[in-house]
């Protein structure tokens, strides 16, 4: 787990190092002041949430991970009193409608298909941050 200290904290839960790297690159390009925390599985994400005093402003969640996947993670935190209202955006390579449906049913705030280019991906993430980080509006 890597953690930077600044205002807005985004927790990225994704098991793929490369994807995580790209997501962090994109986040820092959108707003260099955003700090990111990384978890590589649902369990790690939960552990992070348990230990941290203040919850993150936003979670970017992958679906397919070894161990606890995205859907189970969502169900877990939606049932938790302290965390149930946390904005969680499912960010995935999956193009299946079934995954989107299941994610929203499990309590995802929104569902984002990873675009095939990094530029488009950055635009999409920026739009999502704009929508969910109301207190810490990122500069585009």
């Amino acid at each position: 787990m890597i953690m930077k200290t600044t205002r807005a904290l985004v927790l990225v839960i994704d098991d793929n190092d490369d994807e995580v790297f790209i997501t962090r690159t994109v986040l820092s390009r959108i707003d260099p002041e955003i700090s990111t925390a990384i978890a590589t599985s649902g369990e790690q994400g939960l552990e992070f949430l348990r230990k941290s005093e203040t919850p993150p402003s936003l979670i970017l969640l992958d679906l397919k991970m070894p161990g606890m996947g995205g859907i189970d993670f969502l169900r877990f935190i939606r049932a938790d009193n302290r965390l149930h209202s946390l904005p969680v955006i499912v960010v995935t390579n999956s193009t299946l409608e079934a995954d989107e449906r299941e994610s929203l049913e499990a309590g995802a705030s929104s569902f984002l298909r990873k675009a095939s280019t990094i530029d488009q991906f950055q635009e999409d993430i920026a739009a999502s941050l704009g929508k969910w980080l109301k207190n810490n509006k990122p500069r585009p």
Partner: protein
Amino acid sequence: MGKTPKKKTSSAVKPKAKKSTQSVKSQVRQSQSRKDLLMEIGDLHLRLDEAMETLNAIRSGEVDAMVVSGPKGEQVYMLKGAEQPYRILVESMNEGALSLMEDSTIISCNRAFSDMAGITGGMLIGRSFKEFVAGEDADKYNVFWKQAKDCETRAELGLSFSGRAVPALISACARIIEGESRIFLVVTDISERKKTEAELTRYREHLEEIVAEQTKELRRRTGELDALNKELEAFVYSVSHDLRAPLRVMEGFAKIVTETYADKLDAEGKNYLARIRFSSEQMSHLIEDLLRLSRISRQAIRTMRCDLSSIASSVMRGLCQADPARNIEVVIEEGISADVDLDLMKIAISNLLSNAWKFTSTAEKASIEFGRVNQEGKAVYFVRDNGVGFDQTYANKMFLPFQRLHAEKEFEGTGIGLSIVERIIRRHGGRIWAEGEVGKGATVYFTLD
């Protein structure tokens, strides 16, 4: 017989009174006095009575002979003599014929029955018919026998001759002969019919077996298909998720390298990285198109009345807005509607018009048309353009996935668009084909039923 039965039997109409052929001749002659006439009337009455008596006697089988007046004079017909033709008839019958006493004792039987029994006629006389009835049908026989004494009746009974089973249809009638009750039986061997029936039953059972087997096979195949579908879904998921991910990473890192090491890269290096990015992006598009194609094949169709003209208009509006610089003449026939799946039809029409849009990009005065014609009473829809066209030799190839009739450099696209259209049309039960000529445009036709 055109003769008048004239005279009678043994005087007292006694059964078996032999050959009493004395005829009463009334010879009406002259001397027509009143007295004579009265006598004659009396005589005629007597003769009429006798005639009626004779007739009844014949009917009841009590008569032996009668005298018939004919042109050749009077002739005596021996009723006893009539037995012979009947005997011949009975003997030549295919059915068994028997006469029995009230207690089932056989008095006489014909050859057919002795053949059936495999016992000579003489050996059958005196035996009880009951002993030839199969044990399991004994009760049935008792009921039948009781009925037979009262009225003509028939029944199917199993007979058994030294263990050889013969299914039989038995008709019975009872008569009083010489004061004795006699039962007459006609026995028809129905082995053949039973065999045919059994065969039919076997066929029917076999048919049921076949149907059951085929149902089983169908179930097995359905199960197999379900399993295959699940496998396909897993595959599609894998394609959709796992194959896209590394491509994104390649593209992302190429971009990051381009930017992060911008000062260290010369133009050639940047160009190579751009090519990596372009190719991975292309592959991502291919995967997405492939997924779309598979989705269209599996998606359920819900048809309703749709206005194809307005779908075409809205697609064209979208294209024109995206590229307002293009100078295009658009002709869309009004009021074309059909029973289609709206979502799929939007995809199909959008693909066809986008193709027309794309392939007219080099035309000076481009024109795109959507319309309908009638061919052999069937509605045929078409999208026509005056773009680059194609070589008619390859007209069928253009509906295959990833088939391109133009170089990628000339016109972008993955080559899957028309396959998607073809699948949509096919799923509507329609047909699609194209006509074109290089440099003179193309027309894609389709039907919807």
